[in-house]
Protein backbone atom coordinates (compact mmCIF):
# COMPACT_ATOMS: atom_id res chain seq x y z
CA UNK A 1 0.00 0.00 0.00
CA UNK A 2 2.66 2.40 1.07
CA UNK A 3 5.09 1.37 -1.61
CA UNK A 4 2.45 1.79 -4.34
CA UNK A 5 1.84 5.28 -3.04
CA UNK A 6 5.56 6.04 -3.18
CA UNK A 7 5.74 4.58 -6.70
CA UNK A 8 2.80 6.65 -7.90
CA UNK A 9 4.31 9.72 -6.32
CA UNK A 10 7.60 9.14 -8.10
CA UNK A 11 5.82 8.64 -11.43
CA UNK A 12 3.93 11.91 -10.99
CA UNK A 13 7.12 13.72 -10.01
CA UNK A 14 8.90 12.28 -13.03
CA UNK A 15 6.17 13.38 -15.43
CA UNK A 16 6.21 16.91 -14.07
CA UNK A 17 9.96 17.14 -13.93
CA UNK A 18 10.46 15.77 -17.41
CA UNK A 19 8.31 18.63 -18.67
CA UNK A 20 10.94 21.31 -18.82
CA UNK A 21 13.37 18.95 -20.49
CA UNK A 22 10.87 18.16 -23.22
CA UNK A 23 9.64 21.66 -23.82
CA UNK A 24 13.20 22.70 -24.36
CA UNK A 25 12.40 21.51 -27.87
CA UNK A 26 9.31 23.66 -28.12
CA UNK A 27 8.54 25.67 -31.20
CA UNK A 28 9.66 29.21 -31.58
CA UNK A 29 8.53 31.37 -34.44
CA UNK A 30 10.96 34.12 -33.59
CA UNK A 31 14.01 35.01 -35.58
CA UNK A 32 16.83 33.08 -34.02
CA UNK A 33 20.31 33.84 -32.93
CA UNK A 34 22.97 31.32 -33.85
CA UNK A 35 22.20 27.80 -32.72
CA UNK A 36 23.12 26.93 -29.13
CA UNK A 37 24.16 30.39 -28.01
CA UNK A 38 23.13 32.41 -25.02
CA UNK A 39 21.22 34.76 -27.32
CA UNK A 40 19.17 31.93 -28.76
CA UNK A 41 18.37 30.55 -25.32
CA UNK A 42 17.38 33.99 -24.04
CA UNK A 43 15.03 34.48 -26.96
CA UNK A 44 13.74 31.01 -26.46
CA UNK A 45 12.92 31.62 -22.79
CA UNK A 46 11.25 34.92 -23.59
CA UNK A 47 9.16 33.24 -26.22
CA UNK A 48 8.17 30.49 -23.84
CA UNK A 49 6.99 32.94 -21.21
CA UNK A 50 4.66 34.60 -23.72
CA UNK A 51 1.31 33.49 -24.96
CA UNK A 52 1.08 32.08 -28.48
CA UNK A 53 -1.55 32.00 -31.18
CA UNK A 54 -1.16 28.34 -31.96
CA UNK A 55 -0.82 25.24 -29.84
CA UNK A 56 2.57 23.88 -30.73
CA UNK A 57 4.14 21.02 -28.83
CA UNK A 58 7.45 20.71 -30.67
CA UNK A 59 9.28 21.92 -33.73
CA UNK A 60 12.43 20.98 -35.56
CA UNK A 61 14.31 21.84 -38.71
CA UNK A 62 14.17 19.16 -41.38
CA UNK A 63 16.81 18.20 -43.96
CA UNK A 64 15.78 21.00 -46.33
CA UNK A 65 16.18 23.55 -43.57
CA UNK A 66 12.43 24.17 -43.15
CA UNK A 67 10.86 24.46 -39.74
CA UNK A 68 8.41 21.64 -39.05
CA UNK A 69 5.87 22.20 -36.30
CA UNK A 70 3.97 19.66 -34.25
CA UNK A 71 0.74 21.07 -32.93
CA UNK A 72 -2.49 22.58 -34.13
CA UNK A 73 -3.65 26.09 -35.06
CA UNK A 74 -6.11 28.07 -32.94
CA UNK A 75 -8.76 30.58 -33.98
CA UNK A 76 -7.67 34.21 -34.20
CA UNK A 77 -10.39 36.70 -33.31
CA UNK A 78 -9.66 40.36 -34.06
CA UNK A 79 -11.77 43.47 -33.70
CA UNK A 80 -10.58 45.77 -36.45
CA UNK A 81 -13.56 47.76 -37.77
CA UNK A 82 -15.62 44.63 -37.46
CA UNK A 83 -15.03 41.14 -36.23
CA UNK A 84 -12.34 39.19 -38.07
CA UNK A 85 -12.07 35.49 -37.36
CA UNK A 86 -9.51 33.26 -39.06
CA UNK A 87 -7.28 30.32 -38.27
CA UNK A 88 -3.81 31.00 -36.92
CA UNK A 89 -2.46 28.62 -39.56
CA UNK A 90 -2.71 31.61 -41.93
CA UNK A 91 0.03 33.32 -39.94
CA UNK A 92 2.35 30.31 -40.22
CA UNK A 93 4.03 30.95 -36.87
CA UNK A 94 4.89 34.49 -37.91
CA UNK A 95 6.49 33.44 -41.16
CA UNK A 96 3.76 34.76 -43.47
CA UNK A 97 1.26 37.59 -43.60
CA UNK A 98 -2.41 36.73 -43.24
CA UNK A 99 -4.87 38.45 -45.50
CA UNK A 100 -8.39 38.79 -44.16
CA UNK A 101 -11.07 40.94 -45.86
CA UNK A 102 -8.41 43.03 -47.55
CA UNK A 103 -6.50 43.66 -44.32
CA UNK A 104 -3.05 42.22 -43.64
CA UNK A 105 -1.90 40.97 -40.27
CA UNK A 106 1.48 39.72 -39.14
CA UNK A 107 2.89 38.27 -35.93
CA UNK A 108 5.74 40.02 -34.23
CA UNK A 109 6.88 38.82 -30.80
CA UNK A 110 3.64 36.91 -30.32
CA UNK A 111 1.54 39.99 -30.99
CA UNK A 112 -0.60 40.61 -34.06
CA UNK A 113 0.03 43.86 -35.96
CA UNK A 114 -1.75 45.35 -38.92
CA UNK A 115 0.68 45.53 -41.82
CA UNK A 116 0.78 46.06 -45.54
CA UNK A 117 0.79 43.20 -48.01
CA UNK A 118 4.51 42.52 -47.50
CA UNK A 119 4.19 42.39 -43.71
CA UNK A 120 6.48 45.36 -43.17
CA UNK A 121 6.80 46.36 -39.57
CA UNK A 122 7.96 49.87 -38.88
CA UNK A 123 9.92 50.65 -35.75
CA UNK A 124 10.30 53.77 -33.65
CA UNK A 125 13.55 55.01 -32.14
CA UNK A 126 13.38 52.46 -29.29
CA UNK A 127 12.77 49.53 -31.64
CA UNK A 128 9.08 49.29 -30.77
CA UNK A 129 6.76 48.56 -33.66
CA UNK A 130 4.63 51.54 -34.65
CA UNK A 131 2.08 49.51 -36.62
CA UNK A 132 -1.47 49.57 -35.23
CA UNK A 133 -2.45 46.69 -33.03
CA UNK A 134 -6.05 45.53 -33.54
CA UNK A 135 -7.99 44.43 -30.46
CA UNK A 136 -6.94 40.80 -30.16
CA UNK A 137 -9.50 38.49 -28.59
CA UNK A 138 -7.99 35.31 -30.01
CA UNK A 139 -8.37 31.92 -28.42
CA UNK A 140 -4.67 31.64 -27.67
CA UNK A 141 -2.73 28.77 -26.15
CA UNK A 142 -3.31 30.15 -22.65
CA UNK A 143 -7.06 30.54 -23.25
CA UNK A 144 -7.17 26.93 -24.43
CA UNK A 145 -5.31 25.82 -21.30
CA UNK A 146 -7.73 27.76 -19.12
CA UNK A 147 -10.66 26.09 -20.88
CA UNK A 148 -9.05 22.69 -20.48
CA UNK A 149 -8.37 23.35 -16.80
CA UNK A 150 -11.90 24.64 -16.33
CA UNK A 151 -13.40 21.55 -17.92
CA UNK A 152 -11.08 19.32 -15.91
CA UNK A 153 -12.11 21.04 -12.67
CA UNK A 154 -15.79 20.82 -13.61
CA UNK A 155 -15.44 17.16 -14.45
CA UNK A 156 -13.48 16.23 -11.30
CA UNK A 157 -15.55 18.18 -8.82
CA UNK A 158 -19.01 17.63 -10.25
CA UNK A 159 -18.35 13.89 -10.33
CA UNK A 160 -17.06 14.19 -6.77
CA UNK A 161 -20.31 15.92 -5.79
CA UNK A 162 -22.33 13.18 -7.45
CA UNK A 163 -20.34 10.52 -5.61
CA UNK A 164 -21.20 12.16 -2.31
CA UNK A 165 -24.86 12.04 -3.22
CA UNK A 166 -24.60 8.39 -4.19
CA UNK A 167 -22.61 7.22 -1.20
CA UNK A 168 -24.45 9.31 1.35
CA UNK A 169 -21.59 11.59 2.35
CA UNK A 170 -18.81 9.01 2.37
CA UNK A 171 -15.82 10.16 0.28
CA UNK A 172 -14.91 7.60 -2.38
CA UNK A 173 -12.42 7.61 -5.21
CA UNK A 174 -11.12 11.04 -6.15
CA UNK A 175 -13.02 12.62 -3.27
CA UNK A 176 -10.66 10.85 -0.87
CA UNK A 177 -7.81 12.93 -2.27
CA UNK A 178 -9.58 16.26 -2.69
CA UNK A 179 -11.78 16.28 0.39
CA UNK A 180 -8.93 17.00 2.84
CA UNK A 181 -7.89 19.94 0.64
CA UNK A 182 -11.43 21.29 0.48
CA UNK A 183 -11.76 20.89 4.23
CA UNK A 184 -8.37 22.52 4.77
CA UNK A 185 -9.49 25.56 2.75
CA UNK A 186 -12.70 25.69 4.73
CA UNK A 187 -11.33 25.06 8.23
CA UNK A 188 -7.87 26.62 8.05
CA UNK A 189 -8.21 29.37 5.47
CA UNK A 190 -11.82 30.56 5.24
CA UNK A 191 -13.15 30.20 8.78
CA UNK A 192 -10.16 31.68 10.69
CA UNK A 193 -9.87 34.65 8.31
CA UNK A 194 -13.47 35.44 7.46
CA UNK A 195 -15.30 34.10 10.47
CA UNK A 196 -17.84 31.40 11.13
CA UNK A 197 -20.80 33.57 10.15
CA UNK A 198 -19.88 34.83 6.69
CA UNK A 199 -17.33 32.40 5.28
CA UNK A 200 -19.96 30.45 3.35
CA UNK A 201 -20.51 32.96 0.58
CA UNK A 202 -16.78 33.29 -0.15
CA UNK A 203 -16.12 29.54 -0.15
CA UNK A 204 -16.97 28.88 -3.83
CA UNK A 205 -14.54 31.60 -4.93
CA UNK A 206 -11.74 30.46 -2.63
CA UNK A 207 -12.07 26.83 -3.71
CA UNK A 208 -12.30 27.72 -7.40
CA UNK A 209 -9.34 30.09 -7.32
CA UNK A 210 -7.21 27.62 -5.36
CA UNK A 211 -7.76 24.66 -7.68
CA UNK A 212 -7.66 26.87 -10.79
CA UNK A 213 -4.26 28.32 -9.89
CA UNK A 214 -2.89 25.03 -8.62
CA UNK A 215 -3.91 23.06 -11.71
CA UNK A 216 -2.60 25.74 -14.07
CA UNK A 217 0.67 25.93 -12.14
CA UNK A 218 1.03 22.18 -12.46
CA UNK A 219 0.20 22.31 -16.16
CA UNK A 220 3.01 24.85 -16.43
CA UNK A 221 5.41 22.11 -15.32
CA UNK A 222 4.22 19.57 -17.89
CA UNK A 223 5.67 19.15 -21.37
CA UNK A 224 2.77 21.22 -22.73
CA UNK A 225 5.00 24.19 -22.02
CA UNK A 226 2.28 26.64 -21.01
CA UNK A 227 2.78 29.54 -18.65
CA UNK A 228 -0.74 30.69 -17.84
CA UNK A 229 -0.35 31.77 -14.21
CA UNK A 230 2.93 33.46 -15.13
CA UNK A 231 1.03 35.79 -17.43
CA UNK A 232 0.33 39.26 -16.09
CA UNK A 233 -3.09 39.50 -17.77
CA UNK A 234 -4.28 36.31 -16.07
CA UNK A 235 -3.12 37.31 -12.60
CA UNK A 236 -4.54 40.80 -13.11
CA UNK A 237 -7.93 39.33 -13.96
CA UNK A 238 -7.86 37.16 -10.84
CA UNK A 239 -6.77 40.07 -8.64
CA UNK A 240 -9.47 42.29 -10.16
CA UNK A 241 -12.11 39.75 -9.19
CA UNK A 242 -10.72 39.67 -5.65
CA UNK A 243 -10.73 43.48 -5.60
CA UNK A 244 -14.33 43.69 -6.76
CA UNK A 245 -15.51 40.98 -4.38
CA UNK A 246 -13.74 42.63 -1.45
CA UNK A 247 -15.16 46.07 -2.05
CA UNK A 248 -18.67 45.07 -3.11
CA UNK A 249 -19.12 42.88 -0.04
CA UNK A 250 -17.49 45.44 2.28
CA UNK A 251 -19.48 46.11 5.41
CA UNK A 252 -20.03 49.48 7.10
CA UNK A 253 -17.19 48.64 9.45
CA UNK A 254 -14.84 47.96 6.54
CA UNK A 255 -15.43 51.42 5.05
CA UNK A 256 -15.39 53.05 8.45
CA UNK A 257 -12.01 51.46 9.04
CA UNK A 258 -10.72 53.11 5.84
CA UNK A 259 -12.22 56.57 6.16
CA UNK A 260 -12.44 56.87 9.93
CA UNK A 261 -9.86 54.46 11.33
CA UNK A 262 -9.62 56.06 14.77
CA UNK A 263 -13.36 56.04 15.36
CA UNK A 264 -14.52 57.80 18.48
CA UNK A 265 -11.11 57.62 20.09
CA UNK A 266 -10.24 61.22 19.24
CA UNK A 267 -12.00 64.61 18.86
CA UNK A 268 -12.62 65.76 15.25
CA UNK A 269 -9.94 68.49 15.24
CA UNK A 270 -7.32 65.96 16.29
CA UNK A 271 -8.46 63.54 13.62
CA UNK A 272 -8.28 66.22 10.88
CA UNK A 273 -4.51 66.46 11.12
CA UNK A 274 -3.85 62.74 11.21
CA UNK A 275 -6.42 61.84 8.57
CA UNK A 276 -4.72 64.01 5.94
CA UNK A 277 -2.03 61.31 5.95
CA UNK A 278 -3.91 58.29 7.21
CA UNK A 279 -6.93 58.22 4.92
CA UNK A 280 -4.95 58.39 1.64
CA UNK A 281 -2.78 55.55 2.90
CA UNK A 282 -5.83 53.45 3.72
CA UNK A 283 -7.44 54.25 0.36
CA UNK A 284 -4.20 53.36 -1.39
CA UNK A 285 -4.20 50.13 0.58
CA UNK A 286 -7.45 49.05 -1.09
CA UNK A 287 -5.62 48.97 -4.41
CA UNK A 288 -2.22 47.83 -3.19
CA UNK A 289 -3.57 44.64 -1.65
CA UNK A 290 -4.87 43.06 -4.89
CA UNK A 291 -1.93 44.55 -6.78
CA UNK A 292 0.45 42.69 -4.48
CA UNK A 293 -1.58 39.54 -5.18
CA UNK A 294 -1.23 39.83 -8.93
CA UNK A 295 2.47 40.70 -8.87
CA UNK A 296 3.29 37.91 -6.41
CA UNK A 297 1.71 35.15 -8.46
CA UNK A 298 3.03 36.50 -11.75
CA UNK A 299 6.57 37.02 -10.47
CA UNK A 300 6.82 33.68 -8.70
CA UNK A 301 5.61 31.61 -11.62
CA UNK A 302 7.61 33.57 -14.18
CA UNK A 303 10.75 33.40 -12.08
CA UNK A 304 10.31 29.67 -11.64
CA UNK A 305 10.02 29.15 -15.38
CA UNK A 306 12.98 31.43 -16.12
CA UNK A 307 15.23 29.64 -13.62
CA UNK A 308 14.22 26.22 -14.87
CA UNK A 309 14.66 27.05 -18.52
CA UNK A 310 17.95 28.81 -17.90
CA UNK A 311 19.28 25.73 -16.14
CA UNK A 312 18.11 23.58 -19.02
CA UNK A 313 19.69 26.08 -21.42
CA UNK A 314 22.99 25.56 -19.61
CA UNK A 315 23.01 21.96 -20.84
CA UNK A 316 23.17 23.23 -24.43
CA UNK A 317 25.80 25.84 -23.61
CA UNK A 318 28.15 23.55 -21.70
CA UNK A 319 27.88 20.63 -24.13
CA UNK A 320 30.23 18.67 -21.89
CA UNK A 321 30.03 15.47 -19.86
CA UNK A 322 30.38 17.44 -16.62
CA UNK A 323 28.22 20.47 -17.23
CA UNK A 324 25.32 18.60 -18.82
CA UNK A 325 24.53 16.17 -16.02
CA UNK A 326 25.25 18.89 -13.48
CA UNK A 327 22.70 21.30 -14.91
CA UNK A 328 20.30 18.42 -15.52
CA UNK A 329 20.56 17.51 -11.83
CA UNK A 330 20.08 21.12 -10.85
CA UNK A 331 17.05 21.57 -13.09
CA UNK A 332 15.62 18.33 -11.73
CA UNK A 333 16.00 19.63 -8.18
CA UNK A 334 14.46 22.98 -9.13
CA UNK A 335 11.59 21.12 -10.78
CA UNK A 336 10.88 19.37 -7.51
CA UNK A 337 10.87 22.72 -5.76
CA UNK A 338 8.59 24.12 -8.48
CA UNK A 339 6.05 21.37 -7.79
CA UNK A 340 5.99 22.64 -4.23
CA UNK A 341 5.87 26.28 -5.36
CA UNK A 342 2.90 25.48 -7.61
CA UNK A 343 0.94 24.40 -4.55
CA UNK A 344 2.37 27.10 -2.32
CA UNK A 345 1.44 29.97 -4.67
CA UNK A 346 -2.09 28.66 -5.03
CA UNK A 347 -2.28 28.47 -1.23
CA UNK A 348 -0.89 31.97 -0.75
CA UNK A 349 -3.28 33.49 -3.29
CA UNK A 350 -6.23 31.78 -1.62
CA UNK A 351 -5.03 32.63 1.87
CA UNK A 352 -4.53 36.34 1.09
CA UNK A 353 -7.87 36.55 -0.75
CA UNK A 354 -9.52 35.09 2.33
CA UNK A 355 -7.67 37.61 4.49
CA UNK A 356 -8.94 40.53 2.36
CA UNK A 357 -12.45 39.12 2.37
CA UNK A 358 -12.10 38.87 6.12
CA UNK A 359 -11.36 42.62 6.29
CA UNK A 360 -14.37 43.30 4.09
CA UNK A 361 -16.70 41.07 6.04
CA UNK A 362 -15.62 42.11 9.50
CA UNK A 363 -18.22 43.47 11.84
CA UNK A 364 -16.98 44.79 15.11
CA UNK A 365 -18.93 43.75 18.07
CA UNK A 366 -18.94 47.23 19.50
CA UNK A 367 -20.05 46.10 22.93
CA UNK A 368 -16.81 44.25 23.43
CA UNK A 369 -14.65 47.31 22.91
CA UNK A 370 -15.78 48.86 26.14
CA UNK A 371 -16.11 45.75 28.18
CA UNK A 372 -14.76 46.25 31.67
CA UNK A 373 -13.05 43.31 33.29
CA UNK A 374 -15.39 41.74 35.75
CA UNK A 375 -13.72 41.72 39.13
CA UNK A 376 -15.32 38.53 40.26
CA UNK A 377 -13.69 36.66 37.41
CA UNK A 378 -10.19 37.93 38.05
Amino acid sequence: MRSTFVNNFLVVVFIFCSGPVLFAKEASGEPKGPEGTKAEIKEYIEHHLQDSHDFSLASYTDDQGNMVYWGFPLPVILWDNGLKVFSSSKLHHGETVAEVDGNFYALYHSKIYKTDAEGTILYDAEDHPTNTKPLDLSITKNVVMMMVTGLLLLWIFSSMARKYKKSGGVPTGVAKFFEPIVLYIRDDIAIPNIGEKKYGRYMPFLLTVFFFIWFLNMFGLTPLGVNVTGNIAVTTALALIVFLMTNFTGTKDYWKHIFDPLGDGMPWYGKMIIYIILVPIEVLGIFIKPFALLIRLYANMTAGHVVLMSLIGLIFIFKSWVGGPLSFGLSFAISLIEVLVALLQAYIFTMLSALYFGFAAEEHDHDHDHEEPVLEHL
Binding site: T140, S158, L183, T208, A233, V234, A237
Partner: protein, 166 residues
Protein backbone atom coordinates in the same frame (compact mmCIF):
# COMPACT_ATOMS: atom_id res chain seq x y z
CA UNK B 1 7.08 48.14 -15.88
CA UNK B 2 6.79 49.28 -19.48
CA UNK B 3 7.58 45.76 -20.57
CA UNK B 4 4.88 44.43 -18.28
CA UNK B 5 2.30 46.81 -19.75
CA UNK B 6 3.45 45.88 -23.24
CA UNK B 7 3.10 42.22 -22.37
CA UNK B 8 -0.39 42.74 -21.02
CA UNK B 9 -2.83 41.10 -23.40
CA UNK B 10 -6.34 42.52 -23.32
CA UNK B 11 -7.67 39.46 -25.12
CA UNK B 12 -6.28 37.09 -22.53
CA UNK B 13 -7.58 39.34 -19.74
CA UNK B 14 -11.03 39.36 -21.33
CA UNK B 15 -11.11 35.57 -21.74
CA UNK B 16 -9.74 34.99 -18.26
CA UNK B 17 -12.50 37.10 -16.66
CA UNK B 18 -15.25 35.43 -18.69
CA UNK B 19 -13.92 31.89 -18.27
CA UNK B 20 -13.17 32.30 -14.59
CA UNK B 21 -16.55 33.79 -13.72
CA UNK B 22 -18.26 31.08 -15.76
CA UNK B 23 -16.18 28.40 -14.07
CA UNK B 24 -16.92 29.92 -10.66
CA UNK B 25 -20.68 29.91 -11.27
CA UNK B 26 -20.72 26.39 -12.71
CA UNK B 27 -18.51 24.93 -9.99
CA UNK B 28 -20.54 26.70 -7.33
CA UNK B 29 -23.74 25.17 -8.62
CA UNK B 30 -22.55 21.69 -9.56
CA UNK B 31 -19.63 21.07 -7.23
CA UNK B 32 -18.92 23.27 -4.25
CA UNK B 33 -22.43 23.61 -2.90
CA UNK B 34 -23.26 19.89 -3.05
CA UNK B 35 -19.82 18.94 -1.74
CA UNK B 36 -19.84 21.39 1.15
CA UNK B 37 -23.42 20.47 1.97
CA UNK B 38 -22.60 16.76 1.95
CA UNK B 39 -19.55 17.32 4.14
CA UNK B 40 -21.37 19.49 6.66
CA UNK B 41 -24.33 17.11 6.72
CA UNK B 42 -21.93 14.30 7.46
CA UNK B 43 -20.29 16.33 10.20
CA UNK B 44 -23.69 17.09 11.71
CA UNK B 45 -24.50 13.40 11.43
CA UNK B 46 -21.33 12.45 13.27
CA UNK B 47 -22.02 15.04 15.94
CA UNK B 48 -25.59 13.79 16.36
CA UNK B 49 -24.45 10.19 16.44
CA UNK B 50 -21.88 10.97 19.14
CA UNK B 51 -24.48 12.82 21.19
CA UNK B 52 -26.92 9.95 20.75
CA UNK B 53 -24.26 7.45 21.84
CA UNK B 54 -23.55 9.58 24.90
CA UNK B 55 -27.25 9.71 25.71
CA UNK B 56 -27.59 6.00 25.23
CA UNK B 57 -24.67 5.43 27.58
CA UNK B 58 -26.28 7.62 30.21
CA UNK B 59 -29.58 5.84 29.74
CA UNK B 60 -27.86 2.52 30.07
CA UNK B 61 -26.35 3.68 33.32
CA UNK B 62 -29.76 4.79 34.51
CA UNK B 63 -31.30 1.49 33.48
CA UNK B 64 -28.65 -0.55 35.27
CA UNK B 65 -29.05 1.59 38.36
CA UNK B 66 -32.80 0.96 38.16
CA UNK B 67 -32.16 -2.73 37.72
CA UNK B 68 -29.94 -2.79 40.78
CA UNK B 69 -32.56 -0.99 42.81
CA UNK B 70 -35.33 -3.32 41.61
CA UNK B 71 -33.21 -6.32 42.38
CA UNK B 72 -32.57 -5.11 45.88
CA UNK B 73 -36.23 -4.39 46.39
CA UNK B 74 -37.13 -7.82 45.13
CA UNK B 75 -34.60 -9.41 47.41
CA UNK B 76 -35.92 -7.52 50.41
CA UNK B 77 -39.46 -8.47 49.49
CA UNK B 78 -38.51 -12.09 49.14
CA UNK B 79 -36.87 -12.12 52.54
CA UNK B 80 -39.89 -10.46 54.08
CA UNK B 81 -42.15 -13.05 52.43
CA UNK B 82 -40.04 -15.94 53.66
CA UNK B 83 -40.04 -14.54 57.14
CA UNK B 84 -43.78 -14.08 57.11
CA UNK B 85 -44.30 -17.59 55.78
CA UNK B 86 -42.13 -18.98 58.51
CA UNK B 87 -44.09 -17.10 61.14
CA UNK B 88 -47.38 -18.29 59.71
CA UNK B 89 -46.13 -21.85 59.68
CA UNK B 90 -44.97 -21.69 63.24
CA UNK B 91 -48.24 -20.16 64.33
CA UNK B 92 -50.20 -22.82 62.47
CA UNK B 93 -48.18 -25.62 64.02
CA UNK B 94 -48.61 -24.10 67.47
CA UNK B 95 -52.32 -23.64 66.92
CA UNK B 96 -52.71 -27.19 65.67
CA UNK B 97 -50.80 -28.51 68.64
CA UNK B 98 -52.94 -26.55 71.06
CA UNK B 99 -56.11 -27.69 69.37
CA UNK B 100 -55.02 -31.30 69.35
CA UNK B 101 -54.12 -31.10 72.99
CA UNK B 102 -57.49 -29.66 73.80
CA UNK B 103 -59.29 -32.25 71.71
CA UNK B 104 -57.33 -35.07 73.29
CA UNK B 105 -57.98 -33.76 76.76
CA UNK B 106 -61.65 -33.56 75.96
CA UNK B 107 -61.70 -37.14 74.58
CA UNK B 108 -59.82 -38.46 77.56
CA UNK B 109 -62.19 -36.75 79.93
CA UNK B 110 -65.19 -38.14 78.12
CA UNK B 111 -63.62 -41.56 78.10
CA UNK B 112 -62.98 -41.34 81.81
CA UNK B 113 -66.51 -40.20 82.41
CA UNK B 114 -67.95 -43.01 80.33
CA UNK B 115 -65.63 -45.57 82.03
CA UNK B 116 -66.80 -44.31 85.38
CA UNK B 117 -70.44 -44.64 84.33
CA UNK B 118 -69.88 -48.15 82.89
CA UNK B 119 -68.11 -49.14 86.05
CA UNK B 120 -70.94 -47.89 88.21
CA UNK B 121 -73.49 -49.63 86.02
CA UNK B 122 -71.49 -52.87 86.13
CA UNK B 123 -71.14 -52.71 89.87
CA UNK B 124 -74.85 -52.03 90.21
CA UNK B 125 -75.59 -54.98 87.92
CA UNK B 126 -73.26 -57.26 89.78
CA UNK B 127 -74.81 -56.16 93.02
CA UNK B 128 -78.26 -56.94 91.66
CA UNK B 129 -77.19 -60.36 90.39
CA UNK B 130 -75.36 -61.14 93.61
CA UNK B 131 -78.48 -60.11 95.49
CA UNK B 132 -80.71 -62.28 93.28
CA UNK B 133 -78.34 -65.22 93.52
CA UNK B 134 -78.09 -64.77 97.26
CA UNK B 135 -81.84 -64.72 97.53
CA UNK B 136 -82.19 -67.87 95.39
CA UNK B 137 -79.49 -69.67 97.32
CA UNK B 138 -81.00 -68.60 100.51
CA UNK B 139 -84.41 -69.75 99.28
CA UNK B 140 -83.05 -73.21 98.34
CA UNK B 141 -81.05 -73.55 101.49
CA UNK B 142 -83.97 -72.45 103.48
CA UNK B 143 -86.29 -74.85 101.74
CA UNK B 144 -83.81 -77.69 102.30
CA UNK B 145 -82.78 -76.80 105.81
CA UNK B 146 -85.98 -75.76 107.17
CA UNK B 147 -87.72 -79.03 107.03
CA UNK B 148 -87.24 -79.47 110.76
CA UNK B 149 -87.25 -76.98 113.39
CA UNK B 150 -83.94 -77.69 114.90
CA UNK B 151 -82.18 -77.56 111.78
CA UNK B 152 -83.90 -74.33 110.99
CA UNK B 153 -82.80 -72.77 114.07
CA UNK B 154 -79.30 -74.18 113.87
CA UNK B 155 -79.04 -72.89 110.36
CA UNK B 156 -80.32 -69.57 111.24
CA UNK B 157 -77.77 -69.39 113.89
CA UNK B 158 -75.06 -70.67 111.62
CA UNK B 159 -76.07 -68.23 108.87
CA UNK B 160 -76.22 -65.47 111.21
CA UNK B 161 -72.81 -66.49 112.36
CA UNK B 162 -71.50 -66.64 108.84
CA UNK B 163 -72.96 -63.41 107.54
CA UNK B 164 -70.57 -60.71 107.81
CA UNK B 165 -71.64 -57.48 106.55
CA UNK B 166 -69.25 -55.87 104.28
Amino acid sequence: MEKLINEFSIGLFFWQIILFVLLLLLLRKFAWKPILRAVSEREEGIKDALAAAENAKKEMQNVSADNERLLQEARAEREAMIKEAREIKEKMVADAKAQAQEEGDKIIKQAQLSIEGEKKAAIADIKNQVATLSVEIAEKVLQDQLQNKDKQLKLVDQLVEEIKLR
